[in-house]
Amino acid sequence: MADDVLFEFLHMEMVSHVYKEQASREDIDKERVTCVSTLEGMGFRVGQGLIERFTKDCPTFKDDLDIMKFLCKDFWTGIFRKQVDNLRTNHQGTYVLQDNKFTLLTQVSSGKQHLEEAPKYLAYSCGLIRGALSNLGLESVVTAEVSLMPSCEYLL
């Protein structure tokens, strides 16, 4: 059983590696977008695999809201060891998940200048969520926002 902290370290290293790689190649702006999508793509595949294994024995979900609740409680706990703090919806297909103490961000110090860097760390998790949802049958677009470290919001 791998320890939780290993994932955090690996994730940080992955993020810095992807960015270092791209920085050594040509165009900066284009690369920023590619980095995020690389990380997001990795998260996507992992999310698909994870959700499959995790829901092997579960009964099927009744509706979207049920899926979201599962995501917020069990899936989030499984990965980040806590539940999502807040779930809001407009009942028309948009959900906002808020986590006030996001594990992957607690390592990054809070401060205005780091706010720009935060999206890098969130890209992978966006992919995770998108992958999980896609394997549960939901097409989605996931974006993340950070207003106050270390809390972050995910929009689906």
């Binding site: 059983m1 791998a2 290993l6 370290f9 990795m42 595949r45 009964p59 499984g78």
Partner: protein, 180 residues
């Protein structure tokens, strides 16, 4: 929808699978970025090194293990405490060289390679090379320069996974030069 199944072991399992799957995605990405396995091996080792230099602090904080007196003690701590704490496995320490500066860690199972198979065109890929880097980085932070490499790998057909560690030298604290 009540589930009596042990929720806590489920989440621990999921976390470990998350790590394994993430590592797999990372190796896949590296194979795409670099043309040859040698490069990927080097990158994995480098990344492992960066993780190792930070992991050692976490380890020392959580394990309250004191300074090791010699290399043998180091080997025991690595196998019985560190591996157990981080990967949940306890490799055995064997094959000590006569000079006592080299030994092998034998892993019956390697959590990193769950669900993994190496395709034929990547036969020289050392999939778990991150581990070598981690060990090298961590030990460098406690003033030991070591050489770490895989001697056997279950992914490449061997029965067990064997990591060979060789003590090179003790790293002296670098004091700033005093002369002009």
């Amino acid at each position: 929808m009540s589930r009596q199944s042990n929720r806590s072991t489920d989440t621990k399992k999921m976390n470990s699978e998350l790590f394994t799957l993430t590592y797999g995605a990372l190796v896949t990405q590296l194979c795409k970025d670099y043309e040859n396995d040698e490069e990927v091996n080097k990158q994995l080792e480098k990344m492992g090194y960066n993780i190792g230099v930070r992991l050692i602090e976490d380890f020392l904080a959580r394990s309250s293990v004191g300074r090791c007196q010699d290399f043998r003690e180091t080997a025991d701590v690595i196998a019985k405490v560190a591996f157990k704490m981080y990967l949940g496995i306890t490799p055995s320490v064997t094959n000590w060289s006569p000079a006592g500066d080299e030994f092998s860690l034998i892993l019956e199972s390697n959590p990193l390679v769950d669900f993994v198979e190496l395709p034929d065109n990547h036969s020289t890929l050392i999939y778990s090379n991150l581990l070598c880097g981690v060990l090298r980085g961590a030990l460098e932070m406690v003033q030991m320069a070591v050489d770490v490499r895989f001697a056997q790998d279950t992914l490449r057909g061997d029965n067990v996974t064997e990591i060979r560690m060789k003590f090179i030298k003790r790293i002296e604290e670098n004091l700033p030069a005093g002369d002009e």
